[in-house]
């Protein structure tokens, strides 16, 4: 006999989402996330990126609402990154876990909010995962906190906690997948065709990479992978195959693209789709494998794999039905936002890869090869005097490259230029931008209306009518076997 009333279904859903599951998966994710971030931060420092990203620039592109943020002076940014590495290690060890993950996430978010040109999708994902982890008791197992204070140990967590993290990962894959549902990607194999053609020097497989149909096949494979991999990971029967594909896919992205920690983050995140007790089974197998040769290690592995009696017996904090529902409502609202927010680019119409409105925080990963040449034309209406201003005057080459393809950043720099002219005694100068931009190898086209005074544009989320329509000609088709569809048209 089932209760078919809405209230009954709701209760069943709430009960199901609160059903306890093994904490092992969440704890393992905490450890892997902390270690990965520690390694990532150390790598960031070792590569000397603090200087060009935070110290050298004299101008920083601001996020709306965060224009008050400034880089720490002196060696402050170096110290911040060193602190982030330590905090990430604390997260992995589960030492003062809640404080560590909260501080890590806040510090990391602060650094990423300093300059829009530093935006990366996987940095955004790290912040989101950090925020979620800060609210989840991932220290209940295999943590120094649990060892120090047994009352914080526990063998289970509510199901919704794992589901929430799974959902976050699913959002990334699914949106990244459907973002590829565009003619450039699926019909013209761009930008993969451009990138792969440049990598023909890769041993063994290199000679295949300038074959246009290989790029097309890879484009479709990428589309199917992103849009369906979550389903394959969720289905128990296909999960091992899917994880193998995840490993191979992300390793290839690491080989071909300068994509940083992304190829590491996603396989680690994919472990969230395993059965919640997978770490214990993994340790048990490791114990069996080590048993013959390393009995000492086997014993330690066995202890780690076992559910601690105190943890297993630890009672869940009693929650009222109302608190449970409120919690789920909050989680539901977060999920709804995550699911819908990346879709906002549809509200703007046109080609998001061109106008870039709704581009950030939408998991549009590696979708465009876009380069531009931007020249600012400044005019003093009083004297009629005109100047040309190169962005290089204020930006480093990396910032220039990022700015030249993102209209809102061009506007920000236009405002900065106007302010500098005002300091020089030229009040109310007009600043126009001549932005020749090539999207996926197309003939360069003007991205912004060159007649619009950008100094008078107020940044907003409204549709920008000062951005010109995207070019309608097809993108470049390069390499061997590429059908020359538009040679005459160009």
């Amino acid at each position: 006999m089932t209760d078919a009333t809405p209230n009954g279904a709701q209760h069943r859903l709430v009960a199901r989402l609160h059903a306890p599951v093994d904490v092992a998966s969440l704890a393992a994710f905490r450890i892997l996330f902390g270690l990965m971030m520690c390694a990532g931060i150390v790598r960031f420092l070792a590569k000397g990126w603090v200087e060009p990203l935070f110290v050298e620039p004299t101008f920083f592109f601001k996020y709306a609402g965060f224009s008050w943020l400034e880089p720490l002076p002196g060696t402050g940014m170096y110290l911040l990154y060193a602190l982030l590495a330590v905090l990430a290690l604390c997260v992995a060890l589960g030492w003062h876990y809640r404080i560590a993950i909260a501080l890590f996430t806040a510090g990391f978010a602060y650094a990423e909010l300093l300059d829009v040109t530093n935006y990366l999708n996987h940095y955004y994902l790290i912040v989101l995962l950090g925020v979620l982890l800060a609210f989840l008791p991932a220290e209940r197992a295999w943590s120094l906190d649990a060892r120090r204070d047994p009352s914080r140990a526990g063998g289970t967590v509510p199901t919704w906690m794992l589901r929430l993290l799974q959902f976050q990962v699913a959002v990334v894959y699914v949106h990244a997948g459907w973002a590829k549902f565009n003619p450039d990607w699926l019909l013209h194999a761009q930008p993969l065709n451009i990138w792969m053609t440049a990598r023909v020097g890769t041993p063994v497989i290199g000679p295949m990479l300038d074959l246009w149909w290989v790029a097309l096949a890879m484009s479709w494979a990428g589309f199917f992978f992103d849009t369906t991999i979550v389903g394959w990971l969720l289905w128990k029967r296909t999960r091992p195959f899917a994880f193998a594909v995840v490993l191979v896919f992300h390793f290839f992205t690491h080989v071909f693209f300068n994509i940083g920690m992304f190829p590491v983050i996603m396989p680690i995140a994919a472990t969230l789709f395993f059965a919640p007790d997978w770490p214990r089974r993994f340790l048990a197998r490791a114990q069996a494998a080590a048993g013959t040769f390393l009995p000492g290690l086997a014993s330690r592995l066995g202890e780690a794999a076992a559910v601690q009696p105190s943890a297993a017996a630890a009672p869940e904090a009693p929650r009222t039905g109302r608190r449970r529902a409120a919690m789920l409502a909050l989680v539901g609202a977060y999920c709804a936002f995550q699911a819908l927010f990346p879709l906002r680019s549809f509200l703007y119409g046109g080609n998001v890869l061109w106008h870039e409105q709704g581009m950030r925080w939408s998991w549009k990963v590696k979708l465009r090869e876009k380069n531009g040449a931007v020249t600012f034309h400044v005019r003093d209406p009083q004297s009629g005097r005109r100047w040309q201003v190169s962005p290089d005057e204020y930006l480093n080459p990396r910032q220039t490259r990022q700015m030249s393809r993102q209209p809102d950043l061009i506007v920000q720099l236009a405002h900065h230029i106007a302010a500098l002219f005002e300091q020089r005694g030229f009040s109310s100068v007009e600043v126009r931008a001549e932005a020749w931009v090539s999207l996926n190898g197309r003939r360069p086209a003007l991205m912004l209306d060159p007649e619009v005074d950008l100094a008078r544009i107020t940044p907003s989320v409204a549709r920008a009518d000062w951005i010109l329509p995207a070019p309608t000609d097809p993108p470049a088709r390069l390499g061997r076997g590429a059908p020359r569809l538009h040679a005459e048209a160009r």
């Binding site: 300038d210 080989v255 380069n371 080459p397 931009v437 003939r443 390499g479």
Partner: protein
């Protein structure tokens, strides 16, 4: 079959696949792995042609021209105050023009030893030894005319680059101003004022000859750095991506070359044309004639045209499209012949526009001749397409220091 379907088998297969890919990755990321195969377009052939027949050939031509310049300055030195003085000085001036025209093409080739170590592999910044503009100090040159230390064997090893090279020679050979260019208080006024006109001419000629001699050795050092018997950068460049080569892939060397070509944007378009003409914001007044590149010889316009011709030779792989493999062939082979044609058309248009400036660039700017703005627009047309479609289609990267992650 059942065994293959087990999760463990699948993971083992994945690990094996990753190991295979790992080998591929390891080989592709370093210079010590297996030899990378060539693709349908042989980048190494392009690099070899550009390296040998464009860059090194230009260096060699320049070295020969520098030697003729040295001979001419030596003749002018001994002829000061004689009836042959004017003629030998004219010969030296003409020799300087020939050498400078060649070097202005080579200005675009700051890849390898000519470039800075931050910007290019094996950069030694040998370019500065030949032409350090805009790092210039006429006052420093005047001080040397007074101090006469240039006969010391190690003088050019310790002197700043802004007092020798082609720019110093232009000042020494073409300037007829009897006054020094140092601000008062520099300490040379009395000594300078004590020089007779002939003494001044003699000292200028003496120093010019010393600078020309150093120019020859600078040019030779550059050639040596490229030649197989010396630094062998030509081999490094043209065999990029082969085992042991510091360029992991041939494409990395292509990128280095492209980075050097950014000279066209930053120096040719902005520093040489935009700023003196008052178009560029760095000029605070209506015009900035004090920023003109060649104020004494009046060759600013010709220098800009030579820069463009230097780029054109890289684009075409030589003086004509049929001369050798260049970027035009690369683009055409990839299927972007239209881009190659567009870039060539824009380059030719820019050369024509620059050469159409009447008189010297300085005169044209002073008279607000519209041809200057037209030339600037035409040069910008070249740099615009280089920074947008050209860089996109070839998947090149602007020189941006340490390559950070992206996604």
């Amino acid at each position: 079959m059942e065994r293959l379907r087990s999760p463990r088998s699948v993971l083992l297969l994945a690990v094996a696949a990753l190991a295979g890919v790992g080998v591929v990755a390891a080989c592709s990321s370093g210079g010590g792995g297996e030899s990378g195969p060539t693709d349908s377009f042989d980048r190494r052939a392009m690099l070899a042609n550009i390296g040998e027949n464009v860059i090194l050939a230009t260096y060699t031509e320049f070295r020969d021209a520098a030697q003729e310049l040295k001979d001419a300055t030596a003749a002018a030195r001994v002829a000061v105050g004689t009836s042959a003085g004017v003629a030998t000085l004219d010969s030296a001036r003409n020799a300087w023009i020939v050498a400078t025209d060649l070097w202005q093409q080579a200005e675009l080739y700051q890849v390898g030893p000519a470039g800075s170590e931050e910007a290019t592999l094996q950069g030694e910044f040998l370019r500065d030894r030949i032409y350090a503009w805009p790092a210039i100090s006429t006052c420093g040159i005047d001080q040397e005319i007074v101090n006469q230390n240039h006969d010391d064997p190690g003088y050019f090893d310790t002197a700043f680059v802004d007092v020798y090279g082609l720019y110093a020679l232009e000042y020494l050979l073409f300037s007829e101003d009897p006054e020094d260019t140092c601000p008062s208080g520099t300490g040379i006024d009395a000594a300078w004022d004590a020089l007779t006109a002939t003494e001044l001419a003699q000292r200028r000629a003496d120093y010019a000859d010393a600078v020309a001699g150093n120019l020859v050795s600078g040019a030779q050092a550059l050639i040596d750095a490229w030649s197989p018997s010396g630094g062998a950068f030509l081999r490094t460049f043209s065999e990029a991506g082969t085992p042991g080569n510091p360029y992991g892939q041939a494409h990395d060397a292509v990128n280095d070359l492209f980075g050097a070509l950014y000279y066209l944007d930053l120096m040719t378009k902005d520093d040489k044309l935009g700023i003196p003409a008052g178009i560029h914001v760095e000029c605070p007044t209506a015009t900035c004639l004090d920023r003109i590149e060649s104020p004494w010889a009046g060759r600013s316009k010709e220098n800009i045209a030579a820069n463009l011709r230097g780029w054109r030779r890289v684009l075409l792989g030589g003086d004509t499209a049929a001369a050798g493999i260049g970027f035009d062939d690369f683009l055409t082979e990839l299927g972007a012949a239209d881009v190659a044609a567009d870039v060539e058309t824009r380059t030719d248009a820019a050369i024509v526009a620059v050469e159409a400036i009447p008189g010297t660039l300085e005169e044209a700017i002073a008279s607000s001749d519209p041809s200057v703005a037209a030339a600037h627009t035409a040069v910008k047309g070249v740099t615009d397409i280089l920074k947008s479609q050209f860089i996109s289609v070839l998947d090149l990267r602007i020189p941006e220091g340490p390559g950070v992650d992206n996604d």
